[in-house]
């Protein structure tokens, strides 16, 4: 069918491109430009200055830990929600999305209520590295659950039953039948949770105390550098975060293509 030519298409596209450019593309471009204004060595020098470098290392390490925990716990939670229909599963299913809906600053406050200085269970992880990890676990909880859950729900139990009838043990079925089918979704969710953890700001502000060299994550360091008018330093670390996010997104695309090819 021949599509009617009309002014609405081109005009709309023009407006949409202007909107994206003014709000997203030009400002982000300015960050990268600012970081390279003094040449690559100035960028590298600003990025590897002791405090931002320590913040970046803390961020990447704790995000890796968080991603690994999410990979295991997220898959287990998804399995429980799909295969182990227990009473109250519906409520738990709704609860999973809460970390996405809750403002990040509230998430930090929520964790402080239980694990802060006035903890009723006498567990104080405020101002410690483990507090950062806890905050990141909280805000990234839904990623793996929500990517694995639909795949697991669609997964036919025929294969598992066939394997069982041929005498395969439970463990062998989990490892040889279920896991390979879930792996792409598990990896995609893990990558998303890693990317989110690396860029996280609000939830870590209250619980970490933002101690330089100890609990200051990259986003908080950028914030402090902006406040101190150290624009080059802030732009350098921001660019590093953007590059990490870009690499993760590319890896996700690779996983998607790999899945598409396997069919």
């Amino acid at each position: 069918m021949v599509r009617r030519r009309h002014w609405a298409g081109p005009t709309g596209l023009g407006l949409a491109v202007i909107y994206l450019s003014l709000i997203v593309l030009i400002p982000l471009g300015a960050v990268v430009y600012k970081s390279q204004e003094g040449g690559f060595s100035a960028f590298w020098h600003a990025l590897t200055a002791p405090q931002p470098w320590a913040a970046l290392k803390l961020t990447v390490y704790s995000s890796l830990i968080v991603a690994a925990i999410n990979l295991v716990m997220g898959t287990l939670i998804a399995w429980v929600l799909v295969r182990d229909r227990f009473p109250g599963a519906g409520i738990v299913d709704t609860l999973i999305d809460l970390p996405f809906a809750l403002p990040t600053i509230v998430a930090g406050l929520v964790l402080l209520a239980l694990y802060g200085p006035n903890s009723p269970v006498h567990v104080n992880i405020a101002y410690a590295k483990i507090g950062v990890v806890a905050a990141l676990l909280f805000v990234t909880l839904p990623f793996v659950v929500r990517t694995v859950q639909p795949v697991l729900a669609e997964l036919d139990t025929d294969m598992e039953e066939a394997a069982a009838s041929l005498g395969a043990s439970q463990w062998a079925i989990a490892r040889r039948v279920i896991l390979p089918n879930l792996l792409p979704a598990m990896l995609a969710g893990t990558a998303l949770s890693f990317a989110r953890a690396v860029s996280e700001f609000g939830s870590t502000v209250l619980i970490s105390g933002n101690l330089p060299f100890k609990t200051e994550v990259a986003a908080v360091n950028i914030f402090n550098q902006i406040e101190a008018d150290n624009t080059l330093g802030a732009a350098a670390l921001s660019t590093a975060l953007l590059v990490i996010a870009l690499v993760v997104m590319l890896l996700l695309e690779v996983v998607r293509r790999w899945v598409a090819r396997r069919g």
Partner: protein
């Protein structure tokens, strides 16, 4: 099921998964409720109706309202472009819409400051012409638009794809204009998905903290949103106000979650 894990294994997994949710999510949430009302219901309402809190709620409502309106118009337009039109660079356009998800809120704030700050060429020119963006409401609106940008597009596009364009083509054939077709045919059929996207965008906009913290300059009584209020009150040892406002935000989050679940178009996983 013959292949189901044995009972002990299943209970074991259930115990681990639910225990994790309990210590990470459920118990902390219960404690927030307890902390909020530890000084009584009166203190809770006093904290929320004080002039500073009321002003912060007002700022949040204005900023989130304008940002959601802008993203709704953009979102429907962009979804229509992506689904109904073919144009060079379509895949790039598609990818750029998802970009805000991957950007740290603080980086959003820095990015906007580097263009629209009063000491930058563009921002300086605008300031001289009477439009201050950074450390003022327009910048906070821009930051909030940035972080919520993909939500409406991603809610509407799959539904547009699904319904196809046969009805729209029929309307054109019968002489209906682009606007008439949009209002009478397209909009009614994407109503549910649009409402779903708007609720998600609204929740995201009400709760935005990092990007707004940077561009607002956190000026008390002027650019303080409700999330900034939570942080500022907490740092100043006013726990009652901090927890009261946080509780109000949490209630809004839960409400939006329940509404979004009802509105979620079939087939959407998130």
């Amino acid at each position: 099921m013959a292949n189901a894990p044995s009972r002990p294994a299943r209970y074991g997994i259930r115990f681990v998964a639910l225990g994790y949710l309990l210590v990470l999510l459920v118990v902390p949430l219960i404690l927030v409720v307890k902390r909020t009302f530890s000084s009584g219901l009166g203190a809770f309402f006093d904290a929320l109706t004080g002039s500073q809190a009321a002003h912060a709620f007002e700022i949040t409502a204005i900023v989130a309202g304008v940002a959601v309106l802008a993203n709704t118009i953009f979102g429907v337009g962009a979804a229509l472009l992506l689904v109904r039109h073919k144009f060079p660079g379509r895949r790039l356009f598609d990818a750029v819409i998802d970009l805000p998800v991957a950007v740290s809120p603080v980086v959003v704030g820095l990015a906007l400051t580097l263009i629209y700050g009063a000491h930058e060429p563009v921002g300086g020119w605008l300031t001289r012409h009477g439009l201050q963006i950074i450390f003022s409401l327009p910048g906070m609106v821009l930051a909030t638009i940035f972080v919520g940008l993909p939500l409406v597009v991603r809610a509407v596009a799959p539904v547009l794809e699904e319904i196809g364009d046969e009805q729209e083509q029929a309307a054109y054939t019968l002489g209906s204009s682009v606007w008439q077709t949009f209002w009478r045919i397209t909009l009614p059929s994407i109503r549910g998905a649009l409402a779903y996207g708007v609720v998600l965008a609204l929740a995201r906009s009400l709760g935005e903290y990092g990007a707004v913290a940077v561009v607002s300059g956190r000026i008390l009584g002027q650019t303080q949103t409700i999330t900034l209020f939570v942080e500022e009150r907490f740092e100043n040892f006013d726990q009652t106000a901090a927890y009261s406002a946080a509780f109000a935000l949490a209630v809004l989050a839960v409400l939006s979650l329940l509404v979004a679940r009802r509105l979620r178009p079939a087939g959407h996983t998130r």
